[in-house]
Symmetry: C2
Subunit: 842 residues, 2 copies
């Protein structure tokens, strides 16, 4: 039976027999890399040892027979200064569990030869280390017994005596040392520490470990050195050898940071041939592994040895550039290039970020609700924020909870911080749609009276500068150094490849011509959600407030129709022949009215000043009559359209008028449908308004009507709703809310963080779709929709989330619609999903 | 081919050929009832006529051959004063569509004989009527041409001249009159009016009509009269002939109300043998039809004729008594008796009601949220209500919206009126559970400052007496005459039969020993929902408020544990070996704290008075920090248990302690579960608390743990949740809310009424389960639950709704749990559901 393989004899695919590390070394050796010579004792030998307590006789013979291989290509013989390392290595890596034995082969004689080669101090230090590790790892003597002194030579003697006092023998014969080390490595497989690790990580104890015996190479000899390098720049991806190097030192010294290494280019002068060899090896490795590589190397007496090779860790930016360039070099396919980029990490490439090297003092940590970073003055009032931003000042709006009042001022701010609220509350969704950094549940206390925020004892006054990081949720004192978005031409090249592979398309959520323009630039194939309510914020808010409060709504509606029409014309013109889906008014009307508490305060003030309070009182009355205990489940969506048909009729007219003028074929979406009856009723309001208007104008326009599926009941009864809908758009925010019964506004603040921490939830279901619950409902509806040839898409926040996109693609939905700033990531995720599916099915 | 059948020749099951009415008359004749003789011309003849425009020759012959039958048992010959009616009658009744022809057989000669028998005026009136109807119905002359004058004799002449002037012939020959009437009846089948009616009612035109020719009987001859009667008293169900009678008059006169009829008993003296015959016929009809009967009869010259027989309409009370007594008489089976009582109508038998004859002035009409009626003083404040009821005053609590503050005072009030809110809001559910009349969305305006309510211009001051009808939603000025509940010993007898037939059992929702006692009395087989939060209202509210506001909750929890334990002991003792399901704390904590607006007002007052505001300010801070935008989807249910495990641990200890003392095996229910992870986490809190407590006490108690399934996600993932649950209890209130996205608190007020009116909803889904949506989710969960042997039940409001019970029974659920006041109705509905299923499957 064969128990021992030299590195030349081993193969990469024998990791069961040779262990993962052993197989890798064999693979590198097989490729012709200058790997220090050595051999591997197999896991079969380990199994035999663990059964019988001894190595098979053939194994010991085979080890002895292979000792000469340790001298391959080196000028030292084993037993004459040549030392070896002995390492364990199973099929599944167990890093740090069993210490490696270094410098084996040293004894009282050879240490002297070694001292001549490497200096006395280094030689005795190495010998002492060997004796100590041998005592601890192989013989099991408690580590605290081995105490080092100032003299390594003395340590050698005292360590040997400790071993003897423990009734053990320290073998002076180098061969016996190796055999004993191999036995010790096998014995260590069943140490409590190793067994515990396997139990925790679910590793089968039966696999056993192999044992690697390899020549040691010393970088601290004359004409020697050590270094690490990458085949491409790990932070930019640029193709060039990138790394560090030190002369006359060991790998340990490089790691420990006692000396400052030099850039690898410097090797050109000192070790020109080794430097050239590294370049050749890097190319060889990239061709072999078809990816960017990391290498650890040592030069001993001008000769290069490769100690370890691994897939290179890299920044997102580097990942993109390397993938694109490797595809262009023909090293990998375009599909592979696409699959190499993590979309979650790539998201950061599109945002401003805090320079990682910047010094910073974090005041508080909230939930990062929209990535990116920004600095600016803290301002509490929307009014004041509007004034300051008008003057060109950079403002970070800090509020207790987001409210509709904030929405008009959001676009002009740098960032939004909410002390409470969830990552999918209304204002946050809007801010995220604008690519603005946001933090919610910020963990700060707002003191309006004292005009400051405080957290953990630190207080920052209104007007002070802070910096927020919307990825991490950090709120940082003062201004912090920023880096520009890292997205590069390489990323755009990658994206340009994506669309041809993706089967699920990417649309944009866009509420105005500016966003439509951005959407087109980012590669959106249409608008999947145009929220008409956003058209009423800003200076038009007054008009809708009038409409709500007046009994005769006709005049206000007429005005609103006119400006909605202009909005739609603007959007249709930009989108050309691309589809535009317009959602009719969705939020409860009270969202357009001021907060009652604020109104009460204002009223009190007016009274105090003896001013006329009639107007405000009327408004307060309206607000109070519209107030609901659970507005999310109240009078909104198509319920509003049914109770106030004149509003939907007005919006329909505006849409049709804009379509007439531009030739667009709008898709009209009805929100919050719970039944086919509602769908039928609402579509009859729309159809009638459209027909009346077209008859009056004597012009015609095509349009289609679809349902926003965002209630569990709509999913369950989708089969009937499909009879009245040309398309379904899954509103996954509200659907998640209703399916879980988690209020978007309250849950994150109150318990979601705790749920995520305790793994009661693996993901925040408002960010990544809950496949088992919400997803199951979507599946039910999508099966019904497919049967009835209904076009289907998603327009909730999940439309921009890569994991969710993969799920929607698996259901065969036609497109996802996401915020303008998520389009690129969504395109990448869509392509990856399709490529993955093809891989699995092929 | 046979086209004509006498009533003796026809059979009941030939309604296709004879029409419905014809077949009925034939059936009555066949039973030997004294039906006026006659014959039927079949729908085959009609089809022939409509095809060819004429009657088949055989048909005319057959009619002529059967004319003598019209004289059966009468002393008049046809053509000698014997008159007939000619009526249409298809298989599906088309009432009022074609006028009947009366008094056919009269001509210029026979009218004189008729005049001798019935008086000249009556005879000529009859003749004129015949000529006129003949002209209009048979000949199609416009009705406005026939104008009556003071002299019937003159009318006869002028009407005949009108017919002649229209180029028609009024046949003087009686046989020809009949033939012509039959043709006219057939022709009328295709009149626009008839065709229109059939189209509207979806009646197939191909069925055609039959034509009934029947001797006329006159009650206005000497020794004659007419009347109607029931086989049992239609308002009480008592077995005796009940009806009215008038001497010497026609049926028309009785119906028109020109004369006041006498009670039917009076016939004993005037027509003793006819009276006796009616009794015999009533028995005969009941045996034949196996149900209570209604009859119309005429006596002509002392001889009784039965003109019409139908199933008797009756009150709920009568329905119950008649069904029970018929079963006891052996006329019907017990199952049939159970099926005869409409559970929705029977519900009224269990409540006080407004005397139908009472005069009343309704001020406003809201939604009847809990049936029954009550009078009392209007009071706006819970505080004041508590004071007055303590003095024994009858109070109707009128509030804007129900709030937890109201709950302690509710039991002592007569009724609850909420200006806003829904029929399933918290306080209403509680009030309904107590059988208290409630009205929501009352359509009144509350003026707290002016201390009055107003609606439609009427204003009623606080302290004034009103009466409310919780069935109709009426709010009535002053005190109105009341009737006691109509439920009788008969209803209880019926119920005693129900349980042996029902497969789905009925449990009670009961939160205290008093309700448990009532539940047992009403026949509940266990408690399916014991809401622990209700144990914290009243004077204990302070304790839970302390617990919420204190950082160290230990001491408050200790106190709460003690009184909860006493509550459970009380309930367990009453329930004995019957199961008791206890739901752990469910509502958001802020429900236990005062309303923030009220607190603010109180604070302002305290400040004004210069008093210490610290306590109130702390409370306000707490209230504000607990405030949620959509509390229904916020921090409640098991989320609360997970965030504050000490609360559920305390409740568990109280339950286990009570179980130790009484030997009960409590079922502990976890509310608002959305995932198996939550279920696992919560049950580990409970199991640990129970184990610790038992170890400390060195005593043992059995218990089981189940999940309240009230979120769509719980239904969808029930399969996994079942791994941690011994039972599922469907909380259909919250499940309906989340599935539709309809807030229970807001929907009824804001749009549900409109939805019901417009048939966007066929039923209020909070009262009758929505089978297609919510029900489909319950079905998914119940299939999963059954597979894993989970016991299943319903504890939402729908548990007391008959239609919903039928649905739950069809899913094979084990029991429904409903408020104490719905138990009896639920038992009836449960039995009916099982009987119906057996009928269908047999």
């Amino acid at each position: 039976m064969r128990y021992v393989y030299t590195l030349r004899e081993g193969t990469a695919n024998a990791s069961g027999l040779l262990g993962e590390k052993g197989a890798n070394l064999a693979e590198m050796t097989g490729m012709g890399l200058p790997v220090p010579p050595g051999f591997i004792v197999t896991t079969d030998a380990c199994a035999y040892f663990l059964r019988s307590g001894r190595l098979p006789e053939e194994c010991e013979e085979q080890i002895r027979a292979r000792l000469p291989c340790l001298e391959d290509g080196t000028d030292k013989k084993f037993g004459e200064g040549r030392t070896v390392s002995v390492r364990h290595g199973s099929e599944i890596s167990m890093p740090g569990i069993v210490e490696s034995i270094l410098n084996a082969g040293l004894n009282d004689q050879t240490v002297k030869i070694f001292a001549q080669q490497s200096g006395e101090n280094f030689a005795y230090n190495s010998y002492a280390r060997f004796i100590k590790t041998f005592g601890i790892v192989i013989l099991g003597i408690p580590p605290e017994r081995f105490k080092s002194t100032a003299s390594a030579k003395n340590d050698c003697e005292s360590f040997k005596r400790i071993i003897e006092s423990e009734k053990h023998v320290f073998p002076q014969d180098a061969e016996e040392q190796i055999l004993e080390c191999v036995r010790g490595m096998f014995r260590s497989w069943n140490s409590p520490k190793a067994a515990d690790y396997r139990k925790k990580n679910g590793i089968d104890s039966a696999i056993g470990t192999a044992c690697i015996v390899q020549s040691m190479i010393y970088g601290n000899l004359p004409a020697s050195g050590t270094g690490v390098c990458f085949s491409r720049d790990p932070s930019t991806g640029k193709k060039k050898i990138y790394g560090e190097f030190i002369s006359g030192m060991q790998g340990e010294d490089l790691v420990s940071g006692i000396v400052t290494p030099e850039p690898i280019d410097r090797m050109k002068d000192i070790f020109p041939s080794a430097y050239a060899e590294i370049g050749t090896i890097a190319s060889l490795l990239e061709s072999h592994y078809r990816d960017m590589q990391y290498m650890e190397f040592t030069i001993e007496k001008s000769k290069l040895y490769i100690l370890e090779v691994a897939r290179a860790k890299r920044t997102s930016e580097a990942a993109v550039r390397a993938a694109v360039e490797m595809a262009e070099e023909g090293l990998i396919t375009r599909e592979e290039a696409i699959m190499r980029v993590d979309p979650y990490e790539a998201r950061r490439l599109l945002q401003k970020r805090i320079d990682p090297s910047a010094e910073k003092r974090t005041i508080a940590k909230g939930i990062g609700a929209s990535p990116g970073a920004a600095s600016g003055e803290i301002i509490f009032d929307t009014q004041k924020a509007a004034e300051l931003t008008a003057k060109g000042r950079k403002v970070i709006l800090v509020v207790k909870d987001t409210s509709p009042d904030d929405i008009p001022v959001i676009p002009s701010c740098q960032a939004l911080v909410a002390a409470g609220g969830g990552a999918t509350s209304h204002a946050i969704v809007i801010a995220r749609g604008m690519g603005m950094p946001c933090i919610t549940s910020a963990g700060i206390k707002l003191d309006y009276a004292g005009r400051n925020i405080s957290a953990g004892g630190v207080s920052v006054a209104e007007g002070s500068i802070i910096t927020v990081d919307g990825s991490t949720g950090d709120i940082i004192e003062g201004e912090v150094l920023m880096g520009e978005p890292a997205a590069s031409k390489y990323f755009n090249t990658l994206l340009s490849w994506c669309d041809s592979f993706a089967s699920i398309r990417v649309f944009a959520n866009a509420d105005n011509p500016e966003d439509a323009e951005k959407a087109i630039k980012a590669g959106a194939r249409g608008i999947g959600l145009c929220r008409t309510e956003h058209m009423f914020f800003g200076e038009r808010l007054q008009e809708i407030q009038k409409m709500i409060m007046e009994d005769d709504k006709g005049k206000s509606l007429e005005k609103m129709m006119e400006f909605q029409k202009q909005d739609f014309i603007g959007i249709f013109k930009i989108m050309g022949s691309l589809p535009v889906t317009i959602r009719l008014l969705d939020p409860p009307l009270h969202e357009f009215l001021p907060d009652p508490d604020k109104l009460k305060e204002e009223l009190a003030l007016l009274k105090k000043e003896g001013q006329n309070t009639a107007e405000k009182e009327r408004m307060l009355e309206n607000v109070m009559s519209l107030k609901e205990k659970n507005p999310m489940m109240g009078l909104r969506g198509c319920r509003l359209g049914i109770m106030f048909p004149e509003i939907y009729a007005m919006q329909t007219k505006a849409i049709i008028a804009a379509a007439m003028e531009t030739g667009a074929t709008p898709e009209i979406m009805i929100p919050l449908v719970s039944s086919w009856e509602e769908m039928k009723e609402t579509r009859s309001i729309i159809d009638k308004a459209a027909a009346d208007f077209m008859a009056k104008q004597k012009k015609w326009a095509n349009y289609s009507i679809g349902a926003m599926i965002e209630l569990p009941r709509a999913c369950i009864t989708a089969d009937r709703i499909a009879d009245y809908a040309a398309f379904f758009s899954f509103g996954t925010n509200d659907l998640t809310q209703a399916t879980y019964g988690f209020s978007r506004d309250d849950a994150e603040k109150k318990f979601l963080a705790r749920y995520l921490e305790s793994h009661l939830l693996e993901e925040n279901p408002f960010l990544t779709i809950d496949k088992n619950g919400v997803g199951a409902l979507i599946r039910i509806a999508s099966v019904a929709g497919k049967r009835k040839n209904v076009r289907m898409s998603v327009c909730g926040e999940h439309g921009g989330d890569p994991a969710s996109i993969k799920f929607f693609d698996s259901l065969g939905l036609d497109y996802v619609s996401c915020s303008v700033y998520s389009i690129k990531i969504a395109r990448l995720a869509a392509a990856q999903s399709s490529i993955k599916r093809k891989e699995i099915s092929s």
